[in-house]
Symmetry: C3
Subunit: 436 residues, 3 copies
Amino acid sequence: VIQEEMRIGKAIYDLAAELFPITRSITGEGVRETLKIIQRELPELTIHEVASGTKAFDWTVPMEWNIHDAYIIDPSGIKIIDFKQSNLHVIGYSVPVDTTLSLEELQSHLHSLPEQPDAIPYLTSYYKRSWGFCLTHNQRQSLKAGNYRVRIDSVLKEGSLTYGEVILPGATSEEIFISTYVCHPSMANNELSGPTVVTYLAKWLKGITNRRYTYRIIFIPETIGSIVYLSRNLEHLKKCVVAGFNVTCIGDDRSYSYLPSRAGDTLADRVAKHSLKHLSPEFVSYSFLDRGSDERQYCSPGVDLPVASVMRTKYHAYPEYHTSKDNLSVISAQGLYGGYNAIRLCLHCLEQNEILKCTVLCEPQLSPRGLYPSLSTKNQTAIVAKMMDIIAYADGKSDLLAIAEIIKLPMWELFDTVKALKEHGILAVCSNNKPT
Amino acid sequence: VIQEEMRIGKAIYDLAAELFPITRSITGEGVRETLKIIQRELPELTIHEVASGTKAFDWTVPMEWNIHDAYIIDPSGIKIIDFKQSNLHVIGYSVPVDTTLSLEELQSHLHSLPEQPDAIPYLTSYYKRSWGFCLTHNQRQSLKAGNYRVRIDSVLKEGSLTYGEVILPGATSEEIFISTYVCHPSMANNELSGPTVVTYLAKWLKGITNRRYTYRIIFIPETIGSIVYLSRNLEHLKKCVVAGFNVTCIGDDRSYSYLPSRAGDTLADRVAKHSLKHLSPEFVSYSFLDRGSDERQYCSPGVDLPVASVMRTKYHAYPEYHTSKDNLSVISAQGLYGGYNAIRLCLHCLEQNEILKCTVLCEPQLSPRGLYPSLSTKNQTAIVAKMMDIIAYADGKSDLLAIAEIIKLPMWELFDTVKALKEHGILAVCSNNKPT
Amino acid sequence: VIQEEMRIGKAIYDLAAELFPITRSITGEGVRETLKIIQRELPELTIHEVASGTKAFDWTVPMEWNIHDAYIIDPSGIKIIDFKQSNLHVIGYSVPVDTTLSLEELQSHLHSLPEQPDAIPYLTSYYKRSWGFCLTHNQRQSLKAGNYRVRIDSVLKEGSLTYGEVILPGATSEEIFISTYVCHPSMANNELSGPTVVTYLAKWLKGITNRRYTYRIIFIPETIGSIVYLSRNLEHLKKCVVAGFNVTCIGDDRSYSYLPSRAGDTLADRVAKHSLKHLSPEFVSYSFLDRGSDERQYCSPGVDLPVASVMRTKYHAYPEYHTSKDNLSVISAQGLYGGYNAIRLCLHCLEQNEILKCTVLCEPQLSPRGLYPSLSTKNQTAIVAKMMDIIAYADGKSDLLAIAEIIKLPMWELFDTVKALKEHGILAVCSNNKPT
């Protein structure tokens, strides 16, 4: 098992490292290049283009942005800022610039973090035409007076917003929805942990024979991408999705955390809290007031999808967040595997979550079925207790997740017992098998 | 603002001081004199008389009681008890007496407080014909043997029970109900703080243009007055009142306190708890088991009005209660203003409490409306968070009070933001705008 | 009162002592002998026989087992184990044996408790043909090598399962169900405290004139007996039983304890928790996960009877449980009386539990009815507070048990006040008088 963990964790990490250098934004070639690499791993991925100017609820798909180079040359002719060294140096969606400025004029276009003097901040200006450079505060402090040559070789033009989608059909039309985003340039926990872990979750899901649920997995730009996706699929999603997860910040190994849906008690919330409680009892439980990713859209009034977040260390909750420090050293094979495993456990529980009913009145007689020790001693084993507890609560109303909560065991420790009790005809799945 | 507070607090205090000397009881000239003074401040006040003998549910309006003088002359000819010195000296509703008694005989008609030896207790005997004097325990201890001349010049006759009523019409027929009482002789926190604060709340309400609710404000004798008022108005009140407050003990500055309706979760309870929590987090929260004023009638089974109490220091909870020590030094301009302000905040919140719905699916795009900083930095401001939180919970089901509770801000800090969001068409008031 | 307690406690103890020596099992002459003695105390008891082989849900009534003698003679000819010394020496339902074995061969048929070396364990093998002896670990350690003469003179044959039933009719067809068991050989707290306390509860119930509820009281073998009884009476029980108690481990004086029904909030649970809280605030409150007696059947899915357990020290929770140490020194007249009294209080509360409604709107006028002190002093008495609190919550929806919980008094302290208020016409019983 450990070796398997290492193998998967390493593979996720390698994919993150491969995607790391690409300059992504909410539109542009970086997103397409990223999705192509994911498509190589996941041939089921279809790539969709939505033209600039398309309306999506209150929003409009923006112009497509691409950038080829950018730099600042100081008064002594030295290239002190070079986009090719770090794509965080340029504010996302900066308009083209080619000029010479005094240091004073330049300062209003520079951004740095005095409290983190050796980190380059990550900034964007998607909806207000602007330009600017980000740099370490240390470097900024060292700038000398004089004229600076400034160049941003970017293009803003009619184009499209690009996203990827994988549908893995299951036995029912009920769907599990998984969303992750591909719009950040070179940062690791936020965001490459998301699409890479989701890629490997999709690989795992493909390996499940007799999937019960249909899985809808999307790789989108954050905010505008989820809004566009919802505007195209809302009625279907509202009808079909029984649980969903927004996957982000899932690659470090400092903590596990959970952020609820707005409703707070959906099937996604229940399974996320249950799994994390047993996987990592000290997990951090946030409020929906702490939200900051696409659950803002999925859980907005009138959309109301049952989408929760299972994370490692949450955005805003670690010092490297949204800076050049959120590099490949923040994530690890172990951290990525842990996040992958936490969500996989949730999905595994959802697949196995059924409303069960004991087929006989009163306790069934286990002895003739070979399920019960014949000698009633003072010490009933935990195995018998588990079996009898499952039977006692299999009332045709509670789902197995609720039973696991009541009897205080991880749901996954019940699967073998439930299987045995079904095989012996003691438990049956209810016809109204719709967990809520 | 401070000056305004001082001005209003001073005015309320002055009114209490003017009303203080009057000998009130549950009927009689003292009530009429009190209501006349309030009518001078509040010309909308109508004065109602209900004849002795009128049935009111299980009760009957008693004979009207008036008193002109009363005294005790000791064996040496000195007037040791004089009603003109303190109207608390005579038990309310004492029958006329004109006799001479030995000290032994007199003792059974004397009442004092051994544990508060320098306070005159306040006692009444409304429904059992009786007479008696109240005095300090110190004075009682000093009485010498001998014959005492005793006189009570009171009149019990067919007359009427008097109460005052102000109706301030609003845009809707839904009513906010405010009740206070005018049946105690010279005591300050209980009771003159009540009618004086309510008088100034009515003045403030009159100044609100476009009042949403109709306000029904009554000045009644406690218990029998509320029962009589309910017997005349019950069906209307049950149909129209959405929230109500019994106003008493609202003039000292030692604490804030809250006593719930019997149901405990009415709109009045919700707004009272919310306002006090943010105004004075250390407020005292009582149980309905601690009740003792007219909520006993308003919340009785079958009446079930949504009436809560917002108080400063509650009856029974301060040492001067129901004694001559509850004089004008117990209340203060600051204390009265604090109580006035607490209930005014409740009323202000009720006026602004609406069920809101976001008009667009997904988060609205705030940038083009000039509501959002164009540069997405690490530090989202609290103002943006407040705006987005209001929008996120404006689901067409929660009222603004519920949203304020969820997002943990005083409701009154949301009003400007809600106004701006309405003006930008992002929030709309729901047609079923009936907070519960 | 103390003398009455002593008298009843002593009588229960004496009955337990009389029943102690009998060799009971889930079938057989020991059960019949036990029920005959109970029938002497309770002539209403009817005795029922259910033939071996009868189906009961998933179970089948087993062969009847009787035993006349059993012993082991050691290599030196000494009878070291003698059933006549302790009927715990033989595993219940042991098949007949008459043989000689080496010590090594014998060991696999011996059972002892290393951690309680001077206690004989109690073991059974009802549903797997087997035989064995139980002995102290000390004795087992002293056994010498050699051949052992082993004899079990038992009979397993077609016969019947025996149980007793008492029906005490009441004014309504609604039933209170009381179940206890008679299948353990010589042990005191578990089990003779159960049938003896229940016998005296039935005597007490017989003495109640105008019983409201019908009482159904059964003395059965545990597990198979409750399953058989349910299989014969399920529809009736589901229709009629409003509350029930499984009575076991009710005779020591170390603690009180409560184990809920599966639903957890039935009338039986409410009254049990209320009574124990006021009787013994430190009572132990178990979870249904701690269950181990016939509530396993009564609360199984589809059966769902409102059956809770009120106990002294629970099975599994005291060291003597299921060993020869659970002898008559574990129980006491005081302990038995305490358990008897706890359940009697529950039954008494159930009989008096009504949905009450105040007959007048607003507070009733108590003075003319002689119920209220005429002089309103600072100190309202607790008696008036109780009266007014009952009236305030008599809303035609809450039952008296709910009111007692709200006003934080033992329900039995309300009976006199309720009676007086009814007599004065202030309270009336609701027509839908069905507590839930």
